[in-house]
């Protein structure tokens, strides 16, 4: 239940502005891949092109191919909604739906699409998803309470539970811990380690220790300067990137001598 992603010569534009230039990368199934790099280097933009979420921003478009197990996400006639139901996403700030209970938040992907689901199946799905997000024990007695009453870390795990409830192939995470305290961060990192048994996980992070802790492979993005497009500088095993990088820029960045 997880697929690989192959990106070929991808350019991302906002209107006429080239934001990310010529990225080619192969993301393995059932692995954790981390994107690191300075702010504004296009790693979040690139992440969003992996499930066509960038299209929400007016004027954003791409050139190139993104293959999900060989199927081009940008092929003619591909419905972005289908893409997104296969490739889930967790955002920087926890964003549970404020009008829904914890249980309904988990079931949002099913209920908002008006799929019929029996109460028994729903109960099973809620329990499995919340257990998958390591949140079940904390919320099992208050599933009918609003999701916005949880702490920030719990809300973020609720969002992860919501994402895995639709059973995607790939989960994209855009700085999922940047708004959280160290303990909640640890809980999410443990969770990422468990998620990779079933899912392909791609995570954007500003925290290099986090990238080193959770990822199997790391991609370093950089920009030459303001107004220039972001580029993929180096991609390889996390261990190699952090201990023995090929590029000078990568070494400078991971050792903290840069920016």
């Amino acid at each position: 239940m997880s697929k690989r992603i192959d990106v070929k010569d991808l350019n991302v534009y906002y209107g006429d502005f080239l934001a990310v230039e010529d990225v080619s990368i192969n993301i393995e199934a059932k692995s954790v891949t981390a994107f690191i790099g300075p702010s504004g280097c296009g790693k979040s933009t690139f992440l969003r092109t992996l499930n066509r979420m960038h299209e929400v921003i007016p004027g954003a478009r791409v050139e190139g191919e993104v293959l999900l197990d060989g199927d081009n996400l940008y092929g003619p006639g591909v419905d972005p909604v289908t893409v997104r139901s296969q490739i889930g996403m967790v955002f920087q700030r926890p964003n549970p739906f404020p009008t829904m209970s914890i249980r309904d938040n988990v079931l949002a992907g099913v209920k908002l699409n008006n799929k019929k689901i029996s109460k028994g199946e729903a109960d099973v799905l809620v329990e499995r998803s919340l257990k998958g997000a390591n949140l079940w024990n904390e919320v099992k007695d208050r599933l009918e309470k609003p999701g916005s009453g949880l702490s920030g870390g719990q809300q973020q795990r609720l969002c992860i539970a919501r994402a895995i409830a639709v059973e995607p192939q790939v989960i994209l995470m855009d700085e999922p811990c940047s708004a959280l305290d160290p303990i909640s961060t640890l809980a999410i990192e443990d969770l990422i380690n468990e998620l990779k048994d079933q899912y392909t996980v791609v995570i954007v992070t500003h925290n290099m220790q986090q990238a080193a802790r959770v990822s199997d492979k790391t991609a370093f993005f950089n920009i030459a300067g303001t107004g220039k497009p972001g580029k993929l500088i180096e991609y390889g095993d996390t261990h190699t990137i952090f201990s023995n990088p090929v590029q000078k820029a990568t070494e400078d960045y991971v050792s903290g001598r840069f920016g």
Binding site: N51, M53, V56, V81, R93, G109, K111, L112, G149
Partner: protein
């Protein structure tokens, strides 16, 4: 006021300046009222002048005392406070005056038996003359007008809310600030400024062309009111939809939810409390309109439950006709009593609608309990 020696004065440090005692404003106020009364007594006493003169004296007195003791910064602060409070009182004055007048004049009419349950059908000048001459009961009531107001406003709401809400959804979710969206925004703003009589004439002319000459029904009035209501609904719903965080839309998209379902199931439920209270306030805004109803629904004296046929009374037009054309021209008092009663009912209706708006906003607001 008990005047105690301020303890601050005894232990003055290098960090404090002089301070006015706590009772200073009250003392100045008392002095200003007395001096004001004395001045007014010289030129002829009246309550309004007393208030104005006292307020000016109070401001001058307090600010100059403060300047002498506390320094110029504190004095400016007190001057600003005086101006703010003064403006507030000036703004409040008409409101209190209106409510007081309507209460005093309206309660006798409202307490009249049958006022809320009878229409004016069959009530002629002869009854009013009799009521004045021999002190009998004032007959007739506002039931027909109340019923008309409720029907016309309800129909106007039924027309305006879907149109207004859908327009707002287009502007926020689909317009992308394009040419059409900007044109709509502009014309909605223009519509906000349309004089209500023009809206009434539009509806009358529209039905003249479509149905035939002289068409005056509740439905025509409802169309006229919707012309006034739609821009208000669009504006308030647009603002409410705009403040729904984009993150919630993205969260729904990322779950593979289609755009229209996202709007229907996530965006609108999140904004519904604001939308509902905006709609209620729009209703309160049009329920007191007189001119457009006068030219579109006419004025009836009997109960009409069919909003699509026949002339229909409403509270504002009822007030208007009772004052301008009293039922008994020689004894207008019973008519004016009925008009004041109707005015009181109208104000109560608007107030209740405002309370309902708050209640609705609270009921629909997203819960944050733990």
């Amino acid at each position: 006021m008990t005047s105690t020696v301020s303890p601050v004065r005894s232990k003055r440090s290098a960090l404090t300046k002089g301070q006015l005692p706590k009772y200073a404003p009250y003392a100045v106020l008392a002095a200003a009222l007395i001096v004001g009364a004395a001045i007014l007594a010289l030129v002829g006493f009246n309550a309004f002048g007393w208030g104005v003169v006292s307020a000016i004296l109070f401001a001058i007195g307090l600010v100059s005392w403060s300047a002498a003791v506390e320094g110029s910064r504190k004095a400016k602060d007190r001057l600003a406070t005086c101006l703010v409070v003064g403006s507030f009182l000036v703004a409040l004055l008409p409101l209190v005056s209106v409510i007081w007048t309507v209460l005093v004049n309206g309660i006798p009419g409202l307490l009249n038996p049958g006022f809320l349950t009878n229409s004016m059908n069959g009530v002629t000048g002869a009854f009013d003359n009799k009521a004045v001459d021999s002190g009998g009961p004032v007959l007739g009531g506002i039931y027909h007008a109340l019923l008309g107001t409720v029907q016309i406003t309800l129909l106007a709401t039924v027309i305006s809310v879907p149109v207004g809400l859908l327009t707002a959804i287009y502007l926020v979710e689909y317009g992308n600030d394009g040419r059409l969206a900007r044109a709509i925004t502009f014309f909605v703003d223009v519509m906000t400024g349309i004089p209500s009589i023009v809206a009434g004439l539009f509806a009358a002319a529209f039905f003249f062309v479509v149905v035939g000459p002289g068409t005056k029904t509740g439905a025509v009035a409802a169309v006229a009111l919707s012309v006034l209501m739609i821009p208000v609904v669009v504006r308030s719903s647009e603002e409410m939809l705009k403040i729904v965080p984009n993150e919630l839309r993205e969260a729904a998209y990322a779950l593979g939810v289609r755009k229209w379902r996202t709007i229907l199931k996530v965006v609108i439920p999140t904004a519904i409390s604001g939308i509902a209270s905006g709609v209620t306030l729009a209703i309160a805004r049009v329920i007191g309109e007189t001119a457009p109803i006068l030219v579109t629904a006419g004025f009836a004296t009997s109960i009409n439950t069919n909003v699509f046929g026949g002339w229909m009374a409403s509270l504002p037009t009822f007030i208007y006709t009772q004052i301008l054309n009293p039922t008994s021209p020689s004894n207008p008092d019973p008519s004016s009593q009925r008009a004041w009663g109707a005015a009181l009912v109208l104000i109560i209706l608007v107030m209740v609608l405002n309370l309902v708006a708050r209640l609705v906003a609270r009921i629909f607001a997203p819960k944050t309990g733990r």
